[in-house]
């Protein structure tokens, strides 16, 4: 399954980046979301997939029963997801505001800060 998921990760990266390269600002946001899914899943795979046991100590035990999933990537992803959410929420509203203020959703029309 690890191999299959590796391809899923690849698909998420590719799709996310492709969408970010579109000129519509909304696609940019969707692309960002996919990219963030991709990197989370990537991190998850780095702990190697383990079926079944969550890393939780059952009652009357003092440590999780093996085999259990690697807890550290999970914690990292949780942090990354939450951070990603914050950033995305900001980006979504930024784009909404930009569209309202600039009157376009075409990123190629937003060049005034680069080009004189």
């Amino acid at each position: 399954m690890q191999t299959v998921m590796a391809f899923v990760v690849g698909a998420l990266y590719a799709a996310g980046l492709y969408l970010m390269m579109r000129r519509s600002i909304f696609k940019l946001i969707i692309g960002l979301a996919l990219l963030s899914h991709g990197s989370n899943l990537f991190l998850f795979l780095m702990g190697y997939l383990t079926r079944g046991g969550p890393p939780i100590t059952p009652p009357e035990a003092v440590r999780p029963v093996a085999p259990f999933a690697d807890p550290l990537p999970q914690a990292l992803i949780l942090t990354a997801i939450v951070i990603g959410f914050g950033v995305q929420a900001f980006a979504v509203v930024l784009i909404r505001r930009a569209h309202e203020t600039l009157g376009t959703d075409d990123l190629d029309k937003m060049q005034s800060t680069d080009v004189d």
């Binding site: 969550p54 939780i56 100590t57 949780l78 939450v82 914050g86 929420a89 509203v93």
Partner: protein
């Protein structure tokens, strides 16, 4: 959104959801849950309320400005870490004590930290949803 059915349901769901959120928060140390998910659930409850009854009403039910919740949450998290300084331990060192209420209740700075996370998440989610929805 004026739907009689939704607003009635929401009125009854709000306490249920808040209960769930507190459950997730307090038991997060042992079972799936924790401050973040608990906070999202609580915020979802208020967000639902805002959709059913309007943002104004939801703000009223919340009693405080979400920004204050964020500040309090961060402060709680910070305090939970700084407490350790008192006993000359490093920042965020987990200190535990057992309170015997009707049931034995282990209380520690990590729990306090999670409470901070909870408050921040509630505040942040609501601040975002309220300000966007009010537009």
């Amino acid at each position: 959104m004026t739907s009689l059915i939704l607003s009635t349901a929401t009125t009854y769901l709000l306490p249920l959801l808040l209960l769930l959120s507190v459950y997730l928060l307090l038991h997060g140390h042992d079972v799936p849950g924790g401050g973040f998910v608990g906070g999202v659930v609580a915020a979802a409850a208020f967000a639902l309320y805002a959709i059913a009854h309007g943002v104004e009403e939801a703000r009223r039910v919340l009693h405080t400005h979400p920004r204050t919740l964020i500040g309090l949450g961060l402060l709680t998290a910070l305090l939970s870490g700084v407490i350790a300084f008192v006993s000359n331990e490093p920042f965020l060192k987990g200190l535990w004590t057992t309170v015997t209420l009707p049931v034995e209740w282990k209380l520690g700075t990590p729990t306090l930290f999670d409470v901070g996370v909870y408050l921040v998440v509630v505040g942040v989610t609501l601040m975002i949803i309220f300000s966007v929805a009010e537009d």
